[in-house]
Symmetry: C2
Subunit: 412 residues, 2 copies
């Protein structure tokens, strides 16, 4: 059960004009589960994305990046995205690239476009060849299901060890014109995105120029999917895609326009919601932790310290146990690798409780106060460095027995 994150209600998920979703049970790894998704786009759509920085980036990531570049040169728009679970098609060498390309070709034939107009995505086990025949055999079923009102099934179709689907919709008005957005994400483990999360797809019905969309997706990712971590493992398949179908009222032609600023802010906030859903449903998560580092010299050092806290197995197990063993947080700050950090000016808060003051235990601090906060399901750790004006926030979860169980048993 995800932390304070109810399962989305299908009726709350709204269509975004210009995008249809179709799912299938292709049996990629297991029978009788939704494991294939096609997202078909209107020809007016623009697409931009950010991808994993893992050097072992998966074959579909390599192909998607190449197809996005090709689309920009040829002017032939991306017409569909195809996502399979059950197999990541990573660490699969030339055969893996051939499998990702074959998937694109099969879908292009069915849709009547070129293979380069398809973006493929995979998630699941690494180092095993993709059973591409099962994927292509499932495509007709997915196309028969194509429907604008199919976001809930789409969210289910991209789940792996997620305990629940992750999806949301929003409508807003910008400069008098309505904008509708829906998005889905998946996560659960191997989550410390460095460019984007495992998989996130966000569609808006505005018409957005390619260059503006590219800036918007980076801006949103840097403040959402790139601020979460479950276990520090940056996946081989992380991808976050922003789709602007162009079928709605709003048009954004330049990053200097007021429409851009308003839409980018809304997309960023919506992306944070989708990203936080991943943490709330992190493998074995029982708590949602916000780590904020303030008054640093620059954002980089604030992030370094925040990640050091968020990745410490000792800090994470203390959260799981609701044990205010808060010296572990100071320890993680100390080894974050900031060589000139003067800890004698540093304050540490747990929600509103001042735990450490000027680098040492706050004389007023009472264990009962720390205990009270540690028992909550949502906790904010706040570090004040007193050496600058920069800050950063990272969202994470605790480390529980279930994380070990889930990952010890993942393939069985």
């Amino acid at each position: 059960m995800a932390v304070n994150s109810p399962i989305p209600v299908a009726a709350d998920l709204k269509p975004v004009a210009g995008i249809e979703l179709g799912h299938a049970e292709a049996g990629v790894r297991k029978a009788n589960r939704k494991d294939l998704l096609v997202m078909k786009l209107a020809p007016t759509a623009t697409v931009a994305g950010v991808f994993t920085t893992n050097r072992f980036c998966a074959a579909p990531v390599q192909v998607s990046k190449a197809h996005l570049e090709a689309a920009e040169i040829s002017g032939e728009p991306i017409r569909a995205l195809v996502i399979n679970t059950g197999n990541a098609n990573a660490g699969t060498g030339e055969a893996g690239l051939a499998a990702a390309n074959a998937t694109c070709e099969a879908l292009a034939n069915l849709l009547g476009c070129h293979a380069a107009q398809i973006l493929p995505f995979s998630t699941g086990v690494i180092l095993e060849q993709l059973p591409v025949d099962r994927v292509t055999a499932g495509l007709p079923q997915a196309l028969r299901n194509l429907n604008e009102d199919n976001w809930f099934n789409a969210a289910e179709a991209i789940m792996t060890t997620d305990t629940q689907p992750k999806a949301a919709s929003r409508s807003l008005t910008i400069e008098g014109r309505s904008v509708n957005m829906s998005g889905i994400s998946k996560g659960a483990g191997m989550i410390k995105p460095n460019m984007a999360t495992m998989l996130g797809f966000l569609a808006i019905d505005a018409k957005v120029s390619q260059s503006a969309l590219e800036q918007m997706v980076k801006q949103a990712a840097d403040r959402s999917f790139n601020c979460i971590t479950i276990d520090g493992d940056t996946s081989t398949n992380d991808s976050f895609m922003l789709i602007a179908t162009g079928a709605g009222e709003l048009e954004v032609t330049s990053v200097e326009s007021p429409e851009y600023a308003a839409l980018a802010a809304a997309v960023t906030e919506f992306s944070q919601q989708l990203a936080q859903m991943i943490i709330r449903d992190g493998e074995g998560a029982t708590k949602f932790i916000t780590v904020t580092v303030e008054e640093g010299k620059d954002v980089a050092e604030c992030r370094k310290i925040a990640y050091s806290i968020a990745h410490s197995p000792l800090v994470k197990t203390a959260f799981f146990a609701s044990d205010p063993n808060l010296g572990r947080i100071l320890c993680a700050i100390g080894y974050a690798g900031i060589d000139d950090l003067d800890v004698s000016t540093l304050d540490l808060y747990l929600d509103d409780v001042l735990v450490a003051k000027s680098g040492g235990r706050n004389p007023e601090y009472q264990e009962a106060d720390g205990q009270r906060v540690m028992k909550q399901s949502e906790i904010t750790v706040r570090v004040k460095l007193a050496r600058g004006t920069a800050d950063a926030t990272i969202w994470t979860c605790d480390l529980s027995h279930d994380y070990v169980s889930i990952n010890a048993d993942y393939r069985s």
Copy 2:
């Protein structure tokens, strides 16, 4: 039960002339357990050490570093080390420094020397003030116990969550002169030393000049305690001390001498044994894993990749489960942060089994072969980068349910 690491037999631990050890039950945190150790040194002894790089380094670490520097200037030798468990005296500010100094003064009064000739060490809970009165009240008991033949009790007296004492002895002959060495270490959690482990003490009866000893301890630490990791948490209290009592036959006056080379090699190998004992008894450890990265451009990138593998919770849980989910290792290599890493030339071995070849799954690789190795209690992961001649080795353990249990319950 530690992995392939039997409990040392007291009779196998040999005295090192020039060092006496005395323990006490001081009740620092809990009653009726050995939690205080005094190591009294002959006036001929030289002492050198390496300490944690954690910016929140503990009060006793700060005092020990200052006393080592003072001894070098004054020429007054270090006469004793005093170690307490149950409280790390870290994150304790000015009061913590005063407590560490008070411990030194109390012991100096009892031994008839200056406080600056005492080195204090603490291990245990962070962010709580050291009950210094209990420590000083326990000193007379420890001094009554002083004995050259007390290494087993000494090893027990520095344990925290360790499941068994860690100690060993060796005798060898260098240039026709006998050398005797005994050492103890402790670890268990918060272990990713960056200069040294939680606590390690190694005594030899050779006479070694201060400058040669300082080089020797760095050389040994870099190839032993600085090559182990349990959970990536670099403690606030890590200290590794090398003591040369000067009471034996061998004398080392310069780092250029053949005696230095032979003794440094023996000390390094012995340090590796003590360091590996910590991993074999890592919190919840069921497997001992050696990660070797070869053919790198430099040692730094080899270590970076080795640590990335050794710290990945997904890799560690796969080892725990004996599950050859080896794509997780490729994933960890990929996100190690080597920007120009070309994975297409990379090979991955699990013991003798070639799992990945030229960056993809080895076509000859059979799951059964990976399964066979994963079931072993000792496993070597070998990565060949094919881009240089450097290599590095890191020792680590798996991540089990017991790690979570131990650290969720540590203070209770």
